[in-house]
């Protein structure tokens, strides 16, 4: 049970910190030295990024304006407070006066803050109206949130792919050194051209997610069944990183966003290559693979996609996520196995349909892998073409 696991972990934790040397060294290192993490990490960062779009700079300016207003008010209010706390203390012989009303004062401190608020509201309104101007754009990208990855559809250009966390498990489990972009790296970034007004159409497939790239000042919730629109106009080429910003389940902390902004020419090259890849994939589907090819590919797919729930060791987290090792379905008739992956589970929406998400090759590979790992040894395998036939037969 989760709770007992926690107790174990907690005692493990205290055992680790019982060694005072480890404890204080860790502290010292992290607090004082700039070396304990990779040199490139931007540490002690304390403010919002200015970002790389006109909107993000605008928002940053707004943020700093209201911040300084607050500081100014704080200086006045706390100034008076500290003055009175020092001067008017009984210990200093202060005698209490008895005034307790002043309509004039009340009016002043109602009106002045009100005026300040108006001063803040004017630029805020302008920015907001500008941000909401998303009717026309140079290009549309449909972004769909999944538990726990993003899908990008380039509307009108036949390119569509998933983008998920690429940080290896052993970094997360503290078994190897963490890279600079720990948890902020993906297998395939979103690629966009610079100096174009890109419209993002944002939605989700299961629960609510939120697509957030701080450098664009774009954060918009991805709501299943509805599409939200927003846009960005990126000035500078570069790689921009963000994260999902709405609690979306277990791996909410592990669904980063990476956007690569390229000059138009490079973007065009990328797009052409991507389109060719799509064609290639279609060809692959008709090819026959060896068991080993399937198995190796299946392992990769499994660890990237399925292990989020069923775990790398295939044991899942019962009862939420069933074990694949020894599972009735993974050791039963092949059609049942195909069915749950192509169509998803009828009982539990968490086990969704993967037919849109994975290519036929990937599905064939992962099935082969599941049927022959962790003590499952069915010895059989499926070919991509079988998946295609299964789908075309209406999933029977």
């Amino acid at each position: 049970m989760q709770f007992c696991m926690l107790l174990n972990r907690v005692s493990g934790f205290f055992q680790r910190i019982k060694k005072p040397t480890t404890w204080s060294l860790a502290l010292l290192f992290t607090l004082l030295s700039q070396q304990s993490f990779s040199v490139d990490v931007d540490r002690w960062q304390y403010n919002m990024t200015e970002g790389v779009t006109p909107v993000s700079r605008d928002v940053y300016g707004l943020h700093m304006d209201i911040f300084w207003w607050c500081v100014a008010i704080a200086v006045v209010v706390f100034g008076v407070m500290f003055y009175t706390m020092i001067v008017h203390r009984k210990a200093n012989g202060a005698k209490a006066s008895n005034f307790h009303e002043s309509t004039l004062l009340e009016i002043i401190w109602t009106v002045v803050p009100f005026v300040i608020l108006i001063i803040m509201a004017v630029p805020a309104t302008k920015s907001l109206i500008n941000i909401y101007d998303h009717k026309e754009g140079d290009m549309d990208i449909l972004i769909t949130g999944y538990q726990w990855k993003w899908k990008y559809d380039y509307i009108g250009s036949d390119v569509s792919y998933f983008s998920s966390l690429s940080t290896p498990q052993n970094q997360i489990r503290n078994m190897s050194t963490k890279g600079v972009n720990y948890l902020l790296e993906v297998d395939e970034p979103l690629v966009i051209p610079i100096k174009k007004k890109i419209r993002f159409l944002i939605t989700a497939n299961d629960v609510i997610h939120s697509w957030w790239v701080p450098d664009f000042a774009v954060k918009r919730d991805a709501i299943p069944g509805y599409i939200n629109e927003t846009w960005a106009f990126v000035d500078e080429p570069g790689t921009y990183r963000g994260q999902c910003a709405e609690l979306c389940g277990k791996n909410h902390g592990f669904m980063p966003i990476v956007v690569e902004a390229l000059p138009q020419a490079e973007y065009d090259t990328w797009l052409a290559a991507k389109q060719a890849e799509t064609l290639k994939l279609q060809e692959l589907t008709n090819q026959t693979f060896t068991f080993d090819e399937l198995y190796t590919q299946g392992e990769t797919v499994y660890n990237n996609v399925c292990a989020a729930c069923h775990q790398v060791n295939g044991e899942g987290i019962p009862p939420m996520f069933p074990s694949i090792a020894g599972s009735k379905i993974a050791t039963g008739a092949i059609n049942g196995h195909l069915d749950i992956i192509v169509n998803g589970s009828k009982n539990n929406p968490a086990m969704r349909s993967f037919s849109g998400e994975l290519s036929e090759v990937d599905i064939a590979a992962v099935i082969t892998y599941q049927r022959n790992s962790w003590g499952n040894n069915m010895g059989d395998s499926v070919q991509p073409i079988d998946i295609l036939r299964f789908k075309e037969s209406g999933g029977e």
């Binding site: 709770f3 493990g12 928002v59 069944g225």
Partner: protein, 518 residues
Amino acid sequence: MSAHHGPAKGITRWLYTTNHKDIGTLYLWFSFAMFLLGGAFALVIRAELFEPGLQIIEPEFFNQMTTMHGLIMVFGAVMPAFVGLANWMIPLMIGAPDMALPRMNNWSFWILPFAFTMLTSTLFMDGGAPNFGWTFYAPLSTTYAPPSVTFFIFAVHIMGASSIMGSINIIATILNLRAPGMTLMKMPLFVWTWLITAYLLIAVMPVLAGVVTMMLMDIHFSTSFFDAAGGGDPVLFQHVFWFFGHPEVYIMILPAFGVISAIIPTFARKPLFGYASMVYATSSIAFLSFIVWAHHMFTVGMPVAGELFFMYATMLIAVPTGVKVFNWVTTMFRGSITFETPMLFSVAFVILFTIGGFSGLMLAIAPADFQYHDTYFVVAHFHYVLVPGAIFSIIAAVYYWLPKWCGNMYNETMGKAHFWTAFVGLNLTFFPMHFSGLAGMPRRIPDYNMMFADWNMLSSIGAFFFGASQLLFLFNVIATIRNGRKASDQVWENPEGLEWTLPSPAPYHTFTAPPKIG
């Protein structure tokens, strides 16, 4: 008949009591227990976030901790503590013999231990405890929820019933049981703030009940309220939830305003400045709290007109709240101030709550909120208004009235030590969260990139420090009750209010005949 003998002996005193003081005590101890439990969950969170990487718990369990921490602190620690204070103090402050409906009063309390036992027991159920945040957004909390969500829903139902009954009782007491001559505009501010809070509670707890009921139906009866395929909308959940949720946060702060308005005049030795404007400001805050809910939803993609409306309305709240802050400061001005423990906590309240208010104002600016939303900046905001806000005011109230309750004076040195450790610990915990939030750290994540590591380590150290400091509080209170120095009837120098005309400790039954008010 009943009215004149002392408490019964043994456990039945507490189980069967109809006495407002007993019930107040029960509420306060219950709340403290919940504070420790919710705090322990917070420490699990902070321990996991001490450094990057997953070290002690799984992400799934982390989410359960976040959810349970938020729920227990809000519904189990802060709200019952204020109801406890209301029970103890309102009859004493308005010269009433007890609460208006004493048996229902006891019922309101005893629902809570059952509700929270049921809620906490979900930790041991198959599939684990609720893991969808204290805001439980659908469909994560419906279609994708663990089975224990059903127990969560019913726990919310019955604690809602408890709150509604408690509030009805408080309103009836205040409107009906004031001593002759105690006009509305002569009531202490604590009574005023509670009157308004009780009204808020009765208005919004049923809405919370409504939204969990819709969840229940989506989960078990296949309705489509929050499912677009059938014509529903997940965002509908958020609107209904926040229609409850935003007034809820003022429910957690208005009684605090009342407490502070009682304590500052006592230790400044000067009457509260601007009594009438305090009453109007409180009412305005309550009114505004009903029309700002969607500031929690700036990123869900509302039409721009809605976005603007909710932005303006939210910003407006700064005005009446400012009036309160200015009145407190002016109350202190040219007083003759001393800094006993309750005053220390109150002064810290004014300063730190204002800081929390400023970050609230920043969040209210919709375009900027696109960057702040669901980051640690928000976490910093609400802990600044809740911990040095609600929690500090409760602690201040306990130090302030404890001598009246139990007849003994607490240990001042230990009280001051508690204050300073809490003050330092809290700022160490929550101030860095502003920075990690602005730097881009989302909330509700068990692991993060190294660029947030330093701030998080500071926060975690602060949290354990702050937690340890509360043990001092517990110790001080118990020591005071068991063998503190005897307190005088007035306790403080010339404090205002009917409660100070009573002996210390206040007799089991007070004001059985109403006092005369000048």
